[in-house]
Amino acid sequence: MPALTPEKKRPAARSAGRPLPELIFGDLWEYDPATETADPKLKPRYDLFIGGKFVAPASGKYFDSINPANETKLAEIAQANAADVDAAYAAAQKAFTTTWGKLPGKERAKYIYRLARLLQDRAREFAVAETMDGGKPIKESRDFDVPMAAAHFFYHAGWADKLDYVAPGRKVAPLGVVGQVIPWNFPLLMMAWKLAPALAMGNTIVIKPAETTSVTALKFAEIIQDAGLPPGTVNIVTGFGDTGAAVMNHPTAVKVAFTGSTEVGKIIMRSLAGTDKKMTMELGGKAANIVFDDAPLDEAIEGVVNGIFFNQGEVCCAGSRLFVQESILPAVIRKLRHRMASLRVGDPMDKNTDVGAINSKAQHERIAHYVRLGREEGATLHASDDTDPCVSPAADGKGFFCRPCFFSDVQPSHTIAREEIFGPVLSVMSFRTPDEAVSRANNTPYGLAAGVWTDKGSKVFDIARRLKAGVVWCNTYNKFDPASPFGGYKESGFGREGGVHGLRPYVDLD
């Protein structure tokens, strides 16, 4: 008979003042991979989509789109130059004056409903393609990106015959041809955010997806064909920054919409200063998430984790600055470490994966740079095993991965507390009074989003009112809906997307 273990004779850890053993979910067993296997139905090469047809780029040049999780080539994407952008605008102008622009709203609505339905029909295929192209976990593309994109088309379709209600008391008309440039963090969803209101209001479109994530946009071109939209209503040109600049600066565009970094947004705004083009800009953010000592702590931790680690933190409204009331700071740090340790980082196609691959090598380097800076400037790094989070977990070292991490001992002057990182890196700071929380939260040129956690109703609305941010999540975070306007204060941009407010930038008010 085995002897009793010596531990049996020792006093319990709690009464002896030793740290309690910690059980991390997933530590005691290994998960079997649960890989999504649906066929993304990719073509080896994607041409430009102009005038309802796939056409080869004028330059004959193509670039590779790779899977950021394993760095293998997914497809070749056409590289559009100024001549291609001209052709796209000519097609859009023609559609505006001859077909789409002449359709009654009720008919436009039915086309947009079709887009929603066709996307729902092919949802799994699009989710897989999105995850392979962009690196986000399949559970997010499957449960968030694709259904939300379909919801945006569904919501906006119903607006197409209700222009009289967009701005009551005003006569409203479509604008004409609009140019749009979208980012790589939610490729299909951002496309839906841009296309749906523009189409509903009767405009035609030239849109440029980001160079690292063009695949689902071009797959969506197939849906546009299948839905029978008049040729030229939506034109998709792919390429790099020069293609985007050509889309933004084209004289045919009466309105441009841009979602991306504040830096690029400012270049666009400067180049358009001498024109009468209408603009909407959805730019960067450095959102504050404020946790008061009377907050429901476990819910708040879930919200904080979702707020910063959703989509690998590559979210403009990511809650990247956490302000915790001083008395609960130790508890929050302990709980955050615990919760973070159970996030599964790895193959984005695995249905168990919580944090997938960083979108590109360049973005991975950017995140690693900020993590390095955070340490150099004196903040304390917390990662699941406190080693460098920016190392690939894959045996061959392939793929761009960054494990979730956060910094404590962060000063407001630290670079990581001021600049947008766009990665799974959280800065944790403390505050004593509500006034201090508000003034520190507002102490940034950005103003896209913010979060408030407290169980007291009057405090919720008092803080929500005083935060300078376009979206304030109270006791929740990262919630989106087609009916809910989204957009920023200050240097996070202007104009709203979603809801009735998102329609106004796409109409001409008398």
Partner: protein, 293 residues
């Protein structure tokens, strides 16, 4: 020789509730024909900075004032204008309106004052109503209470058109104030005297110091400083030249200013009474709150 010599008024800047001369000591003669009507202060870049500082300092309190209170203060301004009718009419009349190429109906100086007062009263009324016109509840698909409210943008530079000197100014300023913003007015053009008189209206009508600041100036000289000033959140102008509009729009790229330059505005249109004139100077804030336990 007249029996009694007229006592002429010295027109000064209006900054933070006080009437300083330009720190630069500069003035500009205002002439009607060959007659010098007045020497107006010619505001400098430093005066602009002082005015913005005052406007910023006043912004939070004015934004937090109740809408009812803001409406009453704007109404009080209109009352004061009514009492200064004669002076305002003379100020408008002292420089003949520039010949207009359009066939718009010209209004007499008295009529311009009347319309200015009526417009201000219109926006006094909007103060506690536009939020219901511009904001809304949003039917999101989930157990959330979700609504979109309006909040003032902050410090707004108001760039007056050449004409009409008073109605143009009031039409651009009233929506900005009604929404809870503070303002720095650049009054240039051929006749900034009505703007200088409006400072006296503000000073006597419960408008908190710093909420309205009025700089008589050479507009072209100061526009680039407005454009480059990072503490100006928005710009409201109308009927400006294309180069002037471009200079102001470059400020969008500086600190993402909200720049609204209206073209071809006919200030006697009833359209200028619309809440849509307020819309560019409010930020839409969407608040989510769980509605489940």
């Amino acid at each position: 020789m007249p029996d009694r010599l007229d006592v002429l008024k010295t027109y000064k800047l209006f900054i933070n509730g006080a009437f300083p001369r330009s720190e630069s000591g500069r003035s500009m003669p205002l002439c009607a024909g060959k007659r010098v009507m007045a020497h107006l202060c010619k505001a400098s870049r430093k005066d602009l900075r002082d005015a913005v500082e005052a406007a910023r300092a006043a912004a939070d309190k004015w934004a937090a004032a109740t809408a009812y209170n803001r409406g009453q203060i704007l109404y009080r301004m209109a009352e004061m204008m009514e009492g200064k009718r004669r002076e305002l009419s003379e100020a408008v009349a002292c420089v003949p309106a520039p010949a207009s190429k359009s066939r718009r109906r010209a209004v007499s100086p008295e009529d311009e004052v009347t319309r200015s007062i009526d417009r201000l009263i219109c926006f006094a009324g909007w103060a506690d109503k536009y939020a219901q016109v511009l904001g809304c509840n949003n039917p999101v698909s989930g157990p959330f209470y979700n609504f979109t409210i309006t909040e003032p943008t902050g410090v707004v530079a108001v760039i007056t058109p050449d004409a009409p000197p008073l109605l143009g100014l009031i039409t651009l300023l009233a929506p900005v104030l009604s929404a809870g913003n503070t303002a720095v007015v650049l009054a240039g053009g051929p006749n900034p005297i009505p703007a200088a008189v409006l400072g006296e209206v503000c000073a006597t009508s419960d408008v908190p110091a710093g909420v309205v600041n009025i700089l008589t100036c050479d507009r072209a000289e100061l526009l680039k400083f407005v454009s480059g000033h990072r503490d100006i959140d928005a710009v409201h102008g109308a009927n400006l030249s294309a180069p002037d509009a471009t200079i102001l729009r470059e400020g969008v790229a500086e600190n993402i200013k909200r720049v609204t330059i209206r073209a071809d505005v006919n200030f006697i249109d009833a359209d200028c009474d619309s809440a849509r004139w307020i819309e560019p100077f409010v930020e839409m804030k969407t608040v989510w709150h769980p509605a489940s336990v």
